[in-house]
C-alpha cells in the first residue's frame, strides 16, 4: 500500500463479503425449493429469494468494484484520494440503500423487472450514490500525477456503468419495450462495460504480479476491451430473438454473439501469456491463482457456455429455461466474482500488513469454491437440457417436468455446499487479516 487513503477499499470489500454470504444463503433457499423443500414459502417465497439472490450479487460486485477503484486509482494516479470522509459517506449510503432494498423485497416493495427490482424512488438514491463515487474517483484521477490506461479503462467502465443504469429507469407501457431497454442495462453492463472494469482490474493485477512492462499489458488491454465492445454491443441482439421485435436481431445477434467468446478467449490467453512472460515472482501466489482463474473461468462460463445457447436455432428451445441459469452462474462467478476475490486477495495483505498468502486455507478456498461452482453449473446444465427436451420436444407439462428434474437440484445443493465451504474459508482468511493499518505503508515492499 502506497497511500493511506487506499485503506477505504477494505471496508467496501468487507461489505462485499457480508452481502456475498447472504447471497449464498438465499441461493440455498431457492435450491431447496426447486428440490421440493419449500418450507420457507410463507416467509420468503421464491420470487423474494430470487430478487434478493440476484440483487445481492449485483450490490456485492459493485461494492467490490468500488473498493477496487478506491485501491487502484490512488496508486495509478500517484496521489491520495481527494476525500476519504466522502468515500465513507458513500460506503454507508450504499449499504443503507442496499439494506432498504433487500428488506423491501420481503414486503412486496419492488418493481418486478428481472435484475432491476430496486423500486424507482430508491433508483434515484442509487444514482446519487454512484455520482458521489464517480466524482471522488474522477477528481482524484485528474488531479493525479499520471493518467494510466489501466486507470482510464477502469474509470471509463465505472462511468458507463452509471450512465447505462438510466435506460432501466424509463417507464414503458409495452412489456416488449420494457424488456428491450432492460437489456440495455443488464446486457450492456455484464457483456460490455463491466468487462472494462474487469479488464482494468486484471491489467492492474498483472502489472503488479508478473512485472511485465506496463506498456505491453496496457496495449493488449485496449485490444481486449475493443473486442469486447465490437462483439458485445451488437451481441445484445441475442436477448431480442424471441421477445417480439424484428427478425433482423436474429441475424445481428447471432453473428455478433458468436464473436463474444473471442474477447474472453483473448483475455484468458493474455493473462496466461503475461504470467509466462513475467520475470517477477511475486510472493502472493494466491492473488495470482484468483487472477488467472478469473481470466480462464470467465472464458469457459461467459464465453463458451454463453455461445452454447446464443445461436438463434438453439436459443429458440433454450430461451426461458434453466440452461440460462447454467451459463449465468459460471459466467458471473468467473468474470466478476473471481476478479473481485482476486483484487481482495492481492490488496488485503498490503492494507493490513499481514502476509497470510502462504496458507493452505487460501488454496483450499480457491479449489473448493471453483470445483463446487463447476459442479453446480453441470447440475444446472443437466436440469436445463432435460427440461428443454421434455418440455419443448416431448411437450410435457411444466410441473411434470419440474418433478422429473428435482434430483438434479439435490446434486446442485451438494455442489453448492462444497462451494460455500470454499467461500467460508476465504472469509475466514479475510477475517484473519485483521483491520487495515497505516503501519502497512512501510511494510509493503512487494506492491
Amino acid at each position: 500500500m502506497k497511500y493511506k487513503s487506499q485503506k477505504v477499499a477494505y471496508w467496501f470489500f468487507a461489505l462485499s463479503m457480508l452481502l456475498f454470504a447472504l447471497q449464498i444463503i438465499y441461493g440455498f433457499i431457492m435450491g431447496f425449493a426447486h428440490a421440493g423443500f419449500d418450507g420457507l414459502h410463507d416467509v420468503i417465497p421464491f420470487n423474494t429469494a430470487r430478487a434478493v439472490h440476484t440483487n445481492l450479487l449485483v450490490v456485492w460486485l459493485l461494492s467490490g468494484f468500488m473498493g477496487a477503484a478506491y485501491y487502484i486509482i490512488p496508486e495509478e494516479a500517484q496521489r491520495e484520494l481527494v476525500s476519504v470522509k466522502l468515500a465513507y459517506v458513500q460506503l454507508i449510503s450504499l449499504a443503507v440503500v442496499g439494506v432498504i432494498a433487500i428488506v423491501g423485497y420481503h414486503f412486496n416493495y419492488w418493481e418486478g423487472r428481472k435484475f432491476l427490482e430496486i423500486p424507482r424512488p430508491l433508483d434515484y438514491l442509487v444514482v446519487v450514490n454512484v455520482l458521489l463515487f464517480l466524482g471522488l474517483i474522477l477528481v482524484t484521477l485528474f488531479k493525479g500525477k499520471r493518467r494510466t490506461t489501466t486507470a482510464l479503462v477502469l474509470s471509463m467502465g465505472l462511468l458507463f456503468a452509471a450512465l447505462l443504469y438510466l435506460p432501466g429507469m424509463l417507464p414503458f407501457d409495452s412489456q416488449v419495450m420494457d424488456s428491450f431497454f432492460r437489456w440495455w442495462v443488464v446486457h450492456l453492463w455484464v457483456e460490455g462495460v463491466w468487462e472494462l472494469i474487469m479488464g482494468g482490474i486484471l491489467s492492474f493485477l498483472l502489472i503488479k504480479l508478473t512485472g511485465v512492462d506496463r506498456e505491453v499489458i496496457e496495449k493488449w488491454l485496449y485490444v481486449i476491451v475493443g473486442l469486447t465492445f465490437l462483439s458485445g454491443v451488437l451481441g445484445t441482439g441475442h436477448h431480442y430473438y424471441y421477445i417480439g421485435v424484428n427478425k433482423i436481431w436474429l441475424i445481428v445477434g447471432g453473428i455478433f454473439s458468436a464473436l463474444e467468446p473471442l474477447a474472453f478467449l483473448a483475455m484468458a490467453l493474455f493473462a496466461v501469456n503475461m504470467y509466462r512472460k513475467g520475470e517477477k515472482k511475486h510472493p502472493n501466489k494466491l492473488a495470482l491463482y484468483w487472477t488467472l482463474g478469473a481470466a480462464i473461468v470467465s472464458f469457459i462460463g461467459a464465453g463458451l457456455l454463453g455461445f452454447a445457447h446464443t445461436l438463434p436455432q438453439t436459443n429458440l428451445y433454450t430461451h426461458g429455461t434453466l440452461v440460462t441459469a447454467m451459463h449465468g452462474h459460471l459466467a458471473f462467478w468467473g468474470a466478476y466474482a473471481m476478479i473481485v476475490l482476486a483484487i481482495i486477495s492481492y490488496s488485503l495483505p498490503n492494507m493490513t500488513g499481514r502476509k497470510l498468502y502462504e496458507s493452505t486455507r487460501g488454496r483450499m478456498a480457491f479449489w473448493m469454491s471453483n470445483i463446487g461452482m463447476i459442479g453446480m453449473t453441470v447440475a444446472f446444465g443437466v436440469a436445463g437440457v432435460v427440461q428443454v427436451y421434455l418440455e419443448r420436444k416431448l411437450k410435457m407439462e411444466f410441473m411434470e417436468v419440474q418433478k422429473e428434474i428435482e434430483v438434479h437440484f439435490v446434486v446442485l445443493i451438494i455442489c453448492a455446499t462444497l462451494f460455500m465451504t470454499g467461500i467460508i474459508l476465504y472469509m475466514v482468511d479475510f477475517y484473519k487479516h485483521g483491520r487495515p493499518t497505516d503501519e502497512a505503508l512501510e511494510t509493503a515492499s512487494n506492491d
Binding site: 421464491f46 490506461t149 409495452s174 485496449y222 476491451v225 454491443v233 424471441y242 424484428n246 419443448r392
Partner: protein, 144 residues
C-alpha cells in the same frame, strides 16, 4: 507489430461504430412498420395488468416472453393453454395454489385486478415472437 496507439484507435473506433449501428437498429426496430407487438392494442387495462405484474414480481417465479425465473410456468399463450376462467380462479383464490406440490403466493386479487392481468396476457398472446410461441405452448403440437 500493433502499437498502443493503434490498439486504442481500434477500441475507440470499434466501440463508436458498433454503438451507432446498435442505436440505428433500435430506432429501426421500433418504427411503425416493424411493430410486432400490436402496440395500438395496449389498452388501459393492459397497462394496469402490466403494473400488477411488476408490483408483485410475477417474473420472480414465472417467465413471460421467455424471461423470468424458471420456477413457475411460461405465461406466454397461457390463455390458449388454460382458458381465462382457470387463470381468474388462480389469481383470486385466497389459499395458495399448489399444482404438483409447488406453491404459488395466494395473492387474492380482486375480480377487476384479475381481469386486468388477463387483458395483459391476452395482449402478450398476440405478439409475434418469431416462432417462440410455437415452442412454449402445448398447442405447438398442432402448429409444428
Amino acid at each position: 507489430m500493433l502499437s498502443k496507439k493503434q490498439a486504442r484507435a481500434f477500441f475507440l473506433g470499434g466501440t463508436l461504430v458498433t454503438f451507432l449501428i446498435f442505436i440505428g437498429l433500435t430506432i429501426y426496430s421500433f418504427g411503425k412498420p416493424q411493430d410486432q407487438s400490436n402496440s395500438e392494442n395496449i389498452t388501459e387495462a393492459v397497462v394496469r395488468g402490466k403494473t400488477l405484474w411488476e408490483e408483485n414480481n410475477c417474473m420472480g417465479c414465472h417467465t413471460i416472453l421467455g424471461e423470468g425465473a424458471y420456477y413457475a410456468p411460461e405465461l406466454t399463450k397461457v390463455i390458449e393453454r388454460r382458458g381465462a376462467g382457470y387463470i381468474k380462479a388462480v389469481l383470486m383464490t385466497p389459499v395458495a395454489w399448489e399444482p404438483n406440490g409447488r406453491k404459488m403466493v395466494a395473492y387474492g386479487f380482486t375480480e377487476q385486478e384479475a381481469l386486468d392481468l388477463i387483458e395483459f396476457f391476452d395482449w402478450i398472446d398476440d405478439v409475434d415472437l418469431n416462432g417462440f410461441d410455437t415452442v412454449v405452448s402445448p398447442l405447438a403440437k398442432d402448429n409444428n
